[in-house]
């Protein structure tokens, strides 16, 4: 295994978009067929490289939202209106188009059922993408690892994977999913409101005595706040893994 890893080179390759799903008004999931893709672990990401006609290149990293599935990978991209890359990926790229990428990348922020739990996944907005790969992997595997997924969204219209998350919450044994809305909530909203602060996390996270394995992903401020509170609550910092999207997220 180690030797295989040493011999492998990370090289740029060209994939083809085979499916596109509008998750929300700003978020698309793109499924890409990548010839020669050798699989990946939940939590890993890939690098995308876009080249303009004048040769200018922009490179971005996107988490893979699905567990390994042959030569297919799905990324979930949020459009940042002043972004260089995301508007092209969300609004221009269509099924049949080619895209240059390399991966899979990442050995730190990864989880697979053998790593155990109980698992606490905390997502800020589109930071749910790598956590969704972990959740999908857990649901698909013959695994009894208990999972709590805590999602934070600005509004109900921003919820990504809404139908699938509802279906998993309703049917998957040992999986609980909580949504909170931080800015506005529609009439009849029965979920939580407000941020995952100390009071919320002391109710919703696994008790520290259960030694949960925690993954937090989202904009930097969100990740820092959640991780700090968990440490304050006595969670082992060594079992809190974080992935930060930077100031804007997505």
């Amino acid at each position: 295994m180690a030797r295989t890893a040493i011999l492998r080179r990370l090289t740029w390759t060209v994939g083809k978009v085979i499916a596109r799903v509008d998750e929300t008004a700003r978020v698309r999931s793109l499924t890409i067929d990548v010839p020669g893709w050798t699989g990946h672990l939940p939590g890993q990401h890939l690098d995308v490289r876009l080249t303009a006609e004048d040769g200018y290149q922009a490179q971005r990293s996107y988490s893979i939202a699905t567990p390994g599935d042959g030569s297919h990978v799905t990324i979930t991209v949020e459009r940042l209106d002043d972004g260089e890359a995301s508007p092209y990926l969300t609004d221009v790229l269509v099924v049949g188009d080619q895209i240059e990428l390399r991966g899979p990348i990442g050995g730190y922020f990864v989880w697979e059922p053998g790593r155990g739990g109980p698992l606490l996944l905390v997502a800020g907005g589109s930071g749910i993408a790598p956590l969704m790969a972990m959740l999908r992997s857990r649901v698909a595997a013959p695994s009894d690892v208990a999972v709590r997924l805590l999602c934070s969204w600005r509004s109900a219209a921003d919820v990504i994977y809404a139908d699938e998350l509802d279906a998993i919450a309703a049917t998957a044994e040992g999986v609980s999913i909580t949504h909170t809305l931080t800015q506005s909530a529609p009439d009849g909203w029965t979920g939580r409101r407000g941020r995952y602060d100390r009071k919320a996390l002391s109710q919703l996270a696994w008790p520290r005595e259960q030694e949960p394995l925690t993954y937090v992903c989202g904009p930097t401020g969100f990740v820092e706040a959640v991780a700090s509170v968990l440490v304050e609550l006595g969670h082992d910092p060594g079992r809190i893994l974080t992935e930060r999207f930077g100031p804007t997220g997505g």
């Binding site: 180690a2 890893a5 040493i6 492998r8 080179r9 990370l10 990401h45 690098d47 990293s61 390399r102 991966g103 990348i105 990442g106 050995g107 730190y108 922020f109 904009p219 930097t220 401020g221 820092e224 893994l241 974080t242 992935e243 930060r244 999207f245 930077g246 100031p247």
Partner: protein, 86 residues
């Protein structure tokens, strides 16, 4: 640090793989300043014309990574531990 502008070492996974020829975000490194040990993925990364990696314990710079004429170069002030560059 209280600012919200940084990323983390996960964002440099592709660049470090380019340099070392293998996955590095789960490699452990010891900060040359405070000697605390962290996985590369847990280090803080500030992005600009290049990438500056800082120790999450003492905030001192542990690595600078730049790409010059399509070649990635890194300068580090830390001690690689298991499994380190091979």
């Amino acid at each position: 640090m209280t600012d919200e502008t940084h990323f983390d070492g996960n964002a440099l996974g592709g660049l470090l793989d380019e340099v070392f020829g293998r996955e590095m975000t789960d490699a452990l490194a010891c900060c040359a300043t405070c000697e605390s040990v962290h996985a590369i993925g847990a280090m803080l990364v500030y992005r600009g014309a290049g990438d500056v990696m800082r120790c999450p314990t003492c905030q001192n710079v542990v690595m600078v990574a730049v790409t010059i004429r399509d070649r990635a170069r890194i300068f580090s002030a830390m001690r690689w531990l298991q499994p380190g560059p091979g």
